[in-house]
């Protein structure tokens, strides 16, 4: 059983290769069916392995099991969190393949299989990253995910914006990857090891942390924070999400960004958490500071968007901030909460993107203002969209609510307020969109625009504007939302997740995770807050429009690659400065 762990990578890669080889011979439905079947098969394998992952196991690729504690091979980790992320990535890939069934404009002639093949490669990369126990191997899968994501983001090359979005994404993420590689180089120079646990032991054996450890930590974290879109590494994300095809957005926001956060958790826990690594207070300071900044900026920017995809992208940024805080406080309960939050968030966010895709393909616009009242006819989609917004706010019994409430209790104090506020503001923005677009409520906003991306005049991703919404495009968000609710209500599910996380994360400290009256209350408060904010914004658009003093924040998102690169450099320095103080004494 354990030996089949690498199949999580091998199966999708083989499927992709076969789709490309045979793609020109078979008609499009066959290629798409094969894509769905392969990704579903991988998802099933991930779930089976997940069910057998207690206690966690290690698998040595190529059969290079350690001799006298040393191995030349690559280790894969089969534990709850890793396999959970692999299962999540696989299920979301399946969802986006199903969503994009017959979806795109013509694929390049003779390449019917290329889009499903790219999604399968994406799945393989994400699964590989999730189960990697070797730092260099993680880098390889990090790169695979990234390369595929660039190509998928720029899929609609006819539009200059798509090319620009994909290019900034590529430049910023590649910089992150170089940083990761240099960090790996430093760690390898110190320890002569590449396996994460082995590096951690090597660092501990060397003694107190020094500048090399600090530099390695900062470089590795830079890459992972670029991937998870933490401020100030986040600029690529809204630009990429605004132009990427909708099924791709579902994957980027639903699981790829979260994999960056997962990487932070994994790498800190295995490499830097020992006495030779980065002391816990420094890690906590760095992550909580950046996380809080990310949550605030993400939420504010989310509120001021009218391009619906950008709005959802910023809400992902805000939630990433919340995830990072939860991981940063280094408490077992917070880890459990974040695991549940990530699962719930994936369903909710992917469903919201799926609904936005329906708007785009039917009306050729994702502009909140231009679409005012136009989608009244789409009753079913409206219900899904509002449910998604409520899930984002953390309305019980959504999985997001359970995860958020567990984390809130763990972090405590002012951070709890931040959790409530960030989720309320992002959900309010989505509810505001729902009220205007699907309900036609409030005065019609002005469509004139100054310095902002409006989102009108977009090309639908389907061949023609849809007159009738295909069933797959509505069924997928419905199933995703049902999944997000199931995370919250399925009896015993939360306990299983918590157990799986604690088994690797907190060295045998087991915590119990359940709904509490305080948690439910906080969830209701943030939902109520979101509703009130949204209603006020719809009723009095002038009072809630972006004030001039918020303009500088928006101007930071300039679309200029040079700016983003500069911010990555600054971010790296800030990260170093935040981590430095406690390491000077060593």
């Amino acid at each position: 059983m354990d030996a089949s762990l690498p199949l999580l990578v091998a199966v999708p890669l083989l499927g992709a290769a076969l789709l490309v080889a045979g793609g020109r011979l078979v008609p499009r439905p066959v290629a798409e069916t094969v894509g769905c079947a392969v990704s579903a098969g991988t998802a099933a394998l991930a779930l089976v392995l997940l069910l057998n992952s207690s206690p966690p196991f290690l698998e040595w690729s190529g059969g290079w099991t350690p001799v006298q504690g040393q191995s030349v091979g690559i280790v894969l980790i089969g534990d709850g969190p890793g396999l959970g992320m692999a299962a999540l990535a696989s299920l979301l890939t399946l969802a986006s393949l199903a969503y994009s069934w017959h979806y795109f404009d013509e694929p390049p002639s003779g390449h019917a299989g290329s889009f499903p093949a790219l999604l399968l490669l994406f799945q393989g990369g994400m699964c590989g990253f999730a189960i990697a126990g070797d730092l260099f191997n993680a880098f390889v899968w990090f790169e695979l995910m990234s390369v595929v994501a660039y190509a998928l983001t720029g899929h609609r090359v006819e539009e200059a914006r798509a090319v620009q979005g994909a290019l900034t994404f590529a430049v910023v993420t590649s910089l992150g990857a170089y940083a990761l590689l240099m960090g790996i180089g430093l760690l390898y120079a110190r320890t002569g090891e590449l396996g994460m646990h082995a590096i951690g032991r090597g660092l501990d054996a060397h003694g107190c942390p020094d500048a090399l450890v600090l530099a390695a930590f900062v470089l590795v974290m830079t890459a992972l924070l670029v991937k998870s879109a933490a401020v100030p590494f986040h600029f690529w994300l809204p630009d990429a999400h605004a132009v990427a095809p909708t099924p791709v957005c579902m994957l980027l926001s639903g699981v790829m960004v979260e994999l960056g956060t997962f990487g932070v958790w994994r790498v800190y826990g295995t490499v830097f958490s020992g006495p030779g690594g980065v002391p816990a207070p420094e890690f906590e300071r760095a992550l909580v500071t950046l996380g809080a900044l990310t949550a605030v900026i993400g939420a504010v920017m989310c509120w001021y968007q009218r391009h619906i995809k950008r709005l959802l992208a910023y809400s992902t940024v805000a939630h990433t901030g919340l995830f990072l805080i939860g991981i940063g406080v280094l408490k077992p309960e917070a880890d459990d909460g974040i695991a549940l939050y990530v699962l719930g968030h994936a369903g909710v966010k992917a469903a919201l993107f799926a609904c936005t895709g329906i708007l785009l393909d039917r009306y050729g616009s994702v502009d909140e203002h231009a679409l005012h009242g136009r989608a009244r006819e789409l009753k079913g989609v409206a219900v899904l969209f509002v449910l998604g917004a409520l899930g984002l706010a953390g309305l019980p019994p959504f999985g997001t609510a359970l995860g958020k409430s567990v984390t809130e209790e763990a972090v405590g104090g002012p951070l709890t307020v931040l959790y409530v506020a960030a989720s309320a503001v992002t959900a309010a923005a989505v509810l505001r969109v729902a009220a205007r677009v699907f309900g036609g409520l409030g005065p019609r906003p002005e469509t004139g625009s100054g310095y902002e991306t409006t989102g009108s005049g977009e090309r639908p991703e389907t061949r023609h504007r849809l007159s009738r919404i295909p069933d797959t495009m509505t069924a997928v968000p419905a199933v995703l939302l049902a999944g997000a609710v199931a995370v919250g209500v399925a009896p015993g599910f939360a306990k299983v997740v918590a157990r799986a996380v604690n088994e690797t994360g907190s060295a045998g400290v087991f915590t119990s995770v359940h709904w509490t009256p305080a948690g439910v209350l906080l969830g209701l408060v943030s939902t109520l807050l979101a509703g009130v904010l949204a209603l006020l914004a719809v009723a009095r658009p002038k009072a809630f429009a972006a004030p001039d003093r918020a303009l500088w924040l928006r101007r930071l998102q300039s679309g200029h690659v040079g700016d983003y690169v500069a911010w990555v450099l600054v971010g790296t320095t800030v990260l170093g400065a935040l981590t430095l103080p406690g390491m000077l004494g060593g």
């Binding site: 890669l13 290769a17 040595w60 790219l118 390889v140 190509a151 090359v157 450099l569 971010g571």
Partner: protein
């Protein structure tokens, strides 16, 4: 952001990063030491599998799972290029006119082409024995074909280079790598385990178990991938013309 502000940010961020780097570099182990924990283990492991080129053993045996990822990155880049450099609605395909080639250039390229191709294939075939291997040999073999573009013209190149065939070859080579890995799982102990084939005699072409197979798969994959990538970019510059703004 103004140019000035951006330069300031780069200066501050760059200075911080540079300081961090210098400090880290001072803590690196001294140059030329005799403590190489991984190197010693890798050489030992390579010799037990009778692979003369230790680097090939690391690439295709000890860390073959990494190489799977690396070759897949190239494969993904090729599919990405095929998708992104497709002919869009507002572009049309022109017929490039043959250019006059200087005689010495023509003579030299036609002379060197077979030599370069053979060198590429040699480097791939001897990957497990001597420096080089699938990645390097694949690039040499693929670029050798493009001497035709220099020596003759674009149409001659197109005749020896049916892109569709190379795309399929790329995919087949990738699957071959995965299938060899699966054989290790079914016939041996683990995915990509090099325990299925006999290790052969040290320092001969057939030594190293599955190393030559994986090496050959990568060689084919890289050769096909480079051909397709170059073809797509050449198409874009030579053949595809933008519409007249219609």
């Amino acid at each position: 952001m103004s140019r000035r502000a951006r330069l300031w940010l780069v200066a501050v961020g760059g200075a911080g990063l540079a300081a961090l780097f210098v400090a880290a570099a001072l803590d690196l182990p001294a140059f030329g030491g005799d403590h190489h924990p991984y190197g010693d283990r890798a050489v030992h492991a390579a010799l037990t599998r009778r692979t003369a080129n230790v680097i090939a053993s690391v690439n295709f045996d000890q860390r073959a799972f990494d190489t799977l990822g690396e070759m897949t990155i190239l494969f993904a880049a090729v599919i990405g290029c095929v998708i992104l450099l497709r002919r869009t609605h507002d572009e049309h395909r022109g017929r490039p006119a043959p250019e006059k080639v200087a005689r010495p250039v023509r003579r030299y390229s036609l002379l060197v082409l077979p030599v370069a191709l053979l060198t590429g294939l040699y480097v791939i075939a001897h990957g497990q024995l001597s420096p080089g291997g699938g990645f390097q040999g694949g690039v040499v073999a693929a670029t050798s074909l493009h001497l035709l573009y220099l020596g003759a013209d674009y149409r001659a190149l197109e005749r020896v280079r049916p892109v569709a065939l190379y795309e399929t070859g790329d995919a087949i080579a990738t699957s071959a790598y995965v299938v060899t890995g699966l054989a290790g799982l079914i016939g041996g102990s683990a995915f990509l385990a090099n325990t299925v084939l006999p290790y052969g005699t040290f320092n001969t072409l057939s030594s190293g178990g599955t190393v030559p197979l994986l090496n050959a798969a990568v060689g084919m994959e890289v050769a096909c991938a480079v051909v397709v990538l170059l073809a797509r970019f050449l198409d874009q510059t030579v053949e595809i013309e933008e519409g007249n703004g219609k």
